[in-house]
Symmetry: C2
Subunit: 324 residues, 2 copies
């Protein structure tokens, strides 16, 4: 590329310097940056893509605590769908440390589902020369090459509005941990909604991967602490279905005495009695959108720092029918 | 290794020759084979594992037509669970041709879920030097290094026995295509069961990946061709749930007028009205068992050609309750 030639360094060095990959000296970095400024060069991914688009594989990394959820299974298959369309393989990165770093270099790019600030693999990837697309925002310091996100705050607020319209005055949130940006956004959106409506916050947080029995114990504890609850929104994947028998054993008729909704739609929720209202996060589309953004970045069809919105939906079912 | 030294060839050549990998001449292969015989050498995987266990990744390849099923999602996560325990990454092979062959060489071994004889990637893998473990038998010529399989014939026969005991005299099978060994085994087991019981075969076959509307049309066609059907067993993943509304619209009460069962259990089946009896194929355990067999082969803890049995189960629910 032109900048490399003018600065008298190799293309790889110029590319690393512009990307601040940590592999070049501060002096070289400055030289390259000044040359790029002088030439009016805006860093984009084409140099990276020319260098990197050779392995035939993209990577995918998920927070380990989450891999048991149906959401992530669909997300993974969305990434695979899209990669397959480009005749690319998908490497699921489970390894840590030196082996993980070696794996990065055999990949054209990586998709991170829900990047945790506490995950060393996430930090390693974001510091590497491999372009990274995250699903949901990374709340740490580094900037991914691209981000796909949805407006979870607006959707949760809409859901609580609907519950309110259906007659619920004291709705509660069974929350997910704030270690993911999604979990944090939901808790914040619920608190803000309560403030706007002038109603008390009724919230209980579950760690990721809590088994159904623990989930049910927490729901019992929430109902016993807040017996006036007339609507329950369950954030953790699978927790709304687990709530049904608990509400029934407490003598509450779901859809009448208490409204019930889930923040993560899944197959069973359409078939429970009553069927459960849920936010459709469209995980397969989310995975596909992340992979597509990565391929667009690699091909120079998207600019570094691109943020794309994935629309999500609300599926209203019998569990939130208006009380008559 | 001793054989290589005695035959005067490199370890790699000796190893390839013993594995019949197709990369050595027939003359060399014979020389190596005779030397091995003379030395009383039994080929095992230790030479392979020493050579191969260096990439930190295993591969996984699935038939493209099947990747939308919940079964395969769980299977994939079973492989990932196990790989993660060994600090290995998992590369999902979607690519074809030269790129696929290049990918094989960056893998210590590969798991094949339901290897189709019609899939060129399957043939490429089985002809390569990479050890392969299949889930279900490969019905073509090549021999995988290991196989994990379940006794689907016995389980389907047990299911039809239970339906018979519950009063069904004219049970039908909505079958899966015979392109997978599983699909072929089920059709054969059903036909044999009918012959043993002296009842007519009532069977309709669906291609893999048929959408729910097509599935429902086929069920309507089956019911109209065979109005006397008093039990329906649905093989394709998701087809039993799709059958429920069709049976209802035909005025048949499931669990009374007609019994209904699925060959592939999944989340929704426990929640339908009535809940649907199903064979639990234990896909997560199957994926984990395949990966574990691969790691055992790589470490010399299992012999080439090993076959392991994965127990499966029958979950009886309201859809097959005895008729009173």
């Amino acid at each position: 590329m032109e900048v490399a030639r003018a600065a008298g360094v190799s293309k790889t060095t110029a590319s690393d310097a512009l990307r601040r990959s940590g592999r070049v000296s501060e002096k070289t970095r400055q030289l390259v940056a000044e040359t790029a400024d002088r030439l009016g060069y805006t860093p984009n991914l084409s140099a990276r893509s020319l260098r990197a688009a050779t392995t035939g594989a993209i990577g995918l990394h998920l927070p380990e605590v989450l891999t048991r959820s149906e959401y992530y299974m669909s997300f993974v298959f969305g990434v695979i769908d899209q990669a397959s369309r480009h005749d690319y393989d998908v490497t699921l990165l489970t390894s840590r440390g030196a082996r993980a770093r070696a794996a990065f270099h055999r990949l054209d790019g990586v998709v991170l589902g829900d990047p945790l600030v506490t995950d060393p693999v996430v930090h390693g990837l974001l510091a590497s020369s491999v372009p990274v697309v995250t699903c949901e925002r990374f709340t740490g310091d580094a900037e991914p090459a691209g981000t796909v996100r949805s407006d979870h705050a607006a959707m949760l607020s809409l859901l609580f509005d609907r519950l309110h319209d259906a007659g619920a005055a004291r709705p509660a949130l069974l929350a997910s941990s704030t270690i993911t940006d999604w979990g944090a956004i939901l808790q914040r959106a619920y608190r803000e909604w309560c403030e706007r409506r002038g109603t008390a916050v009724r919230l209980r947080e579950l760690p990721y991967g809590a088994p159904p029995e623990v989930t049910q114990d927490e729901i019992r504890a929430l109902l016993s602490a807040e017996p006036g609850i007339d609507a329950l929104v369950c954030a953790p994947d699978g927790s709304a279905a687990a709530a049904l028998p608990v509400l029934r054993e407490e003598g509450r008729e779901v859809g009448r005495d208490v409204l019930l909704a889930a923040c993560v739609d899944s197959g069973p929720l359409a078939h429970t009695d009553p069927p459960i209202t849920a936010i459709d996060l469209r995980p397969r589309e989310a995975g596909a959108a992340c992979a597509e953004l990565l391929f667009d970045l690699l091909a120079g069809r998207a600019d570094e720092g691109a943020v794309r919105d994935l629309p999500i939906g609300l599926v209203e079912r019998g569990s939130t029918a208006p009380r008559g």
